[in-house]
């Protein structure tokens, strides 16, 4: 059953969600919240991929989403391990208190 929603609606929704994630990365200091904002951005891209896939009848978009999810899972594991070891060494998860490599 075909829907009557134009593809552009999905693309604009995806853009808004992506930018919400960007705002999170720019304005927050908590490393875990920044990490979650990155997940928001990944999911916004996934949404536009699935939309393109469904509207063009090509499976490639959904395959890419599958691989992006796998990469996101790997990123989650490594990213949270980094946050954990950061907290262990610096007793903070606020990114502006970690300025060891700041020039």
């Amino acid at each position: 059953m075909p829907t009557s929603i134009p593809l552009d609606y999905y693309l604009i929704l995806s853009a808004v969600l992506f930018v919400t994630g960007v705002v999170g990365v720019i304005t927050r200091r908590n490393a875990i919240v920044i990490f979650m904002s990155i997940e928001l951005m990944l999911n916004a891209v996934n949404l536009s991929m699935v939309a393109f896939s469904a509207y063009s009848g090509d499976i490639a978009g959904q395959m890419f989403v599958f691989f992006i999810m796998a990469v996101a899972a790997a990123e989650a594991a490594v990213g949270l391990a980094i946050v954990l070891s950061l907290f262990r060494n610096k007793q903070t998860v606020y990114v502006d208190e970690v300025n060891l490599m700041k020039w």
């Binding site: 919400t20 594991a77 946050v83």
Partner: protein
């Protein structure tokens, strides 16, 4: 109004709302809970696009596995009471960040609306390509190499996470 339009509206508003809650809450646990809601909304949007397999995997992998990991780390870090959690807010950073983000949204919306894709209907093949059968079919034929590469990546991430997160034992002890 058609039921698809209503569903799209509900999921779209829910997704945007939960995304905004995710980036604005001071308490990371509240952010994480909003993010779980966001993943469910996205899963609903995938269903409106007839992508059943992706919708199921979204709930299993994101709302299930990744968010459990995030909440687990938040609890493990024991960041103290909510009073201490209040971030020193920088108005300059907040305002400028939001301002440029709004600008970016407007630019993107202009770019999309000035070049309309003209696609108003789901492809007639949308229903059949979203099934687990067709995803598995091409995963193990056309996309076999990326599939194997991803398994290697997951192994590397597994080892990396263990090495990064393990407590360093005293040298020579």
């Amino acid at each position: 109004m058609e039921v698809q339009v209503i569903l799209f509206a509900i999921f779209a508003v829910g997704a945007i709302g939960s995304a905004i809650v995710t980036v604005t809450r001071k308490n990371p646990v509240a952010s994480a809970m909003a993010l779980v809601g966001h993943f469910f909304m996205l899963s609903g949007l995938y269903l409106t696009l007839e992508a059943q397999f992706v919708a199921a995997v979204q709930v299993l992998v994101y709302a299930g596995a990744i968010m459990v990991l995030v909440v687990f780390v938040i609890m493990l870090l024991n960041l103290g009471t909510e009073q201490q959690l209040a971030e020193r807010s920088s108005y300059l950073r907040g305002t400028l960040g939001t301002l440029f983000a709004a600008l970016f949204v407007i630019l993107l919306a202009l770019a999309i609306t000035s070049n309309p894709s003209g696609a108003n209907q789901l492809s007639s093949k949308a229903v059949e390509i979203g099934t687990t059968e067709s995803i598995g079919q091409s995963l193990f034929t056309q996309y076999l190499f990326p599939f194997e590469a991803v398994s290697l990546l997951l192994l590397a991430a597994l080892i990396g996470a263990v090495i990064l997160a393990k407590r360093h034992v005293q040298e020579g002890a």
